[in-house]
């Protein structure tokens, strides 16, 4: 399954920045610099961005324009980052958000 449109009948080739790598829950993924983090994740087949605080339900892209905040993740250690409007940069560390933190942080809190 490839989610990237190679050539569009109206828009032609869609211009992208340079190819960069970033990590998603420890896996190294490729994307294009400057595109929304969510676009790179989508292209890599990632659907679940976070699990909710109360019910632990999976959430992903919903509005794609930064309004609904469903696609928030932990980016470079910072939670609640709207991945649909945050540009991707080389070496970013993107983690699935559980409630308001990354999974590893949750464990640490549990032990403290």
């Amino acid at each position: 399954m490839n989610s990237r449109i190679k050539e569009h009948p109206i828009l032609g080739k869609i211009e992208k920045g340079r190819r960069v790598t970033f990590s998603h829950d420890g896996n190294i993924i490729e994307g294009f610099e400057g595109e929304p983090i969510s676009a790179a994740l989508k292209a890599a087949g990632v659907m679940v961005h976070r699990h909710t605080q109360k019910y632990g339900a999976p959430r992903g892209i919903f509005c794609a324009i930064g309004r609904c905040t469903d696609c928030v993740m932990v980016v470079d250690g910072k939670p609640n980052i709207r991945t649909c409007i945050t540009p991707l940069a080389e070496g970013m560390i993107v983690e699935t958000q559980y409630g308001v933190s990354a999974k590893s942080t949750n464990k640490a809190e549990g032990m403290a």
Partner: protein, 111 residues
């Protein structure tokens, strides 16, 4: 309009419905049943429901559920949408960290 603020009016008993489990406020994870129950607990305006349940007070600030909560409340209260009115609009329109909103400076930073 007089009807809206009449606290003593009878809106009947809370009747459980099949779709009460339906999630309405995605951010704060509030269900349709919780919203309907809040109305029977006496929350007759959108502002009250918001304070009571936190519907529309999560990260998205009611962008998604605002209209849905309004429709549920209007139906439960037997009002048309325009009678119910909207919840108040306040600054900031979008969620902003307090640090930014208050233009807080790091120690040593020039004011």
């Amino acid at each position: 309009m007089h009807n809206v603020n009449n606290r003593s009016r009878d809106i009947g008993e809370f009747v459980p419905a099949e779709d009460d489990e339906l999630l309405i406020c995605r951010c704060e994870e509030i269900t349709k049943g919780e919203i309907r129950r809040a109305i029977h607990d006496g929350m007759f305006t959108l502002t009250e429901i918001r304070r009571y349940l936190r519907t529309g007070m999560g990260l998205c600030q009611g962008q998604t559920c605002g209209k849905l909560v309004k429709e549920i409340a209007a139906r439960e209260l037997g009002l048309v949408l325009s009678e119910l009115g909207n919840a108040s609009s306040r600054v900031p329109m979008r969620p902003i960290e307090m640090k930014v909103f208050g233009n807080e400076k790091e120690p040593g930073e020039n004011a």
